[in-house]
Amino acid sequence: MESQRDSEQLDQLIGNLLLIGVIVSGAVAAIGGAFYLVDYAFTPADYHVFHGEPAALKSVGGIVSAALSMNSQGIIQLGLLLLIATPVARVVLSIVAFALQRDLLYVGITLIVLAVLAFSLLSGGV
């Protein structure tokens, strides 16, 4: 039972990371949203027909450069990307934590989870 509680500090760290990730990504997306409404408030909303997002809003590189050029949709998308990255960062932190506990079994298990996430985000699946 003692060994289970070694991880108490780790729990605190993971909890803080999740909270900061949600607050920062929500704030970035909300700022982008304010600019977006200034730009498009009175144009018709059309989500009936699926067009798919333009290339600049659907890849990690495209989103970062759209946001840097102050494109309002790019800034929202950057916020959403930070939100998606929050659980990924949590997984990375868990690898470090399991390594510090010399728990190689769980370092391996967590690396598998990270590999699946990286594959999904960078390649877009199968």
């Binding site: 977006y36 989500y47 594959f119």
Partner: protein
């Protein structure tokens, strides 16, 4: 169906609807994500692919927000969560890939069936799980048994039937990736009924896993252009604020009646999704 809105009205209405979904989802413990896709498609006429993308983003936000608090309290079993995340993330990847092959109508029918099943689960009473059996050898070698804070101090518990739980988790991940929901109900079912993990631990660990599972399918949807910033933003902020508010009042509200009512709403939304999917309205 509400149509011909401008961006400002659409944003405000979608935000309000998502706020309500998040509030009810947190109050009833059924999750707001489950009603978002029906709301966006049936009420606002949004294409189901945009609806799933927006819903998935909101699922990550609420899961991470809630998990932040639960992890600190020490209920979450991080080893169980991480092991089962192998199953849910691979499932999510499979589900998201399947989602881009299947037609919107087929996805709508599967979502409808899942909603009806969730409504049924919401009426099931929560029962205490039996911990009488001797510790499971596989669970021991995977170091899954843990302890959680109870009134009299730390209480130890055992974990059973790991392969069964792992298998159901793969299904939960596939549903999450295909439908853009957290599928917390299926995750809790796997941990609670099959692996016999105490209810408080299974619900918080499920929540802990939902964010990572949703991130795995969100990557696929982002790359396929399903995540629209103008739609995903009000959905995400609405559900997040609603669920935080819902969690705050949870401690003092009587939720039994609300749970049954929300269950009925989910049931009818499920029937309507099935009907629309079959009749070609999606």
């Amino acid at each position: 169906m509400i149509s011909n809105l401008n961006v400002l009205d659409m944003t405000l209405l979608v935000w309000l609807g998502s706020l309500g979904a998040g509030l009810l989802g947190a109050l009833t413990g059924l999750g707001g994500g489950v009603v978002l896709v029906p709301m966006l498609t049936l009420l606002f006429g949004v294409d189901i692919r945009y609806a799933i993308g927006a819903s998935l983003v909101s699922v990550i936000a609420t899961s991470s927000g809630a998990a932040a608090a639960y992890v600190k309290e020490g209920f979450t079993n991080i080893r169980v969560g991480m092991l089962l995340e192998v199953a849910t993330t691979v499932g999510a990847l499979a589900g998201a890939s399947l989602g881009s092959v299947l037609s919107g109508a087929v996805v709508a029918v599967i979502l409808g069936v899942t909603l009806v099943y969730s409504a049924y689960l919401s009426t099931r009473p929560q029962h205490a799980v039996s911990q009488d059996a001797p510790p499971d050898a596989l669970a021991c070698s995977l170091k899954l048994n843990g302890c959680y804070p109870a009134a009299e101090g730390w209480r130890a518990y055992n974990v059973y039937c790991v392969p069964g739980g792992f298998g159901v988790m793969f299904v939960a991940g596939t549903l999450s990736g295909l439908l853009g929901i957290g599928s917390g109900a299926v995750k809790v079912l796997a941990m609670d009924t099959i692996m016999r993990i105490p209810f408080k631990v299974s619900t918080t660990t499920s929540n802990f896993m939902i964010g990572v599972t949703a991130a795995a399918s969100a990557g696929v949807y982002l790359n396929r252009g399903y995540i629209d910033p103008g739609l995903a933003l009000p959905v995400m902020l609405g559900v997040l604020i609603g669920s935080v508010a819902g969690t705050r009042v949870l401690a003092r509200a009587r939720t039994r009646t609300l749970r049954v009512l929300f269950g009925v709403v989910i049931f009818f939304l499920g029937i309507q999704m099935i009907y629309k999917g079959l009749a070609g309205g999606i």
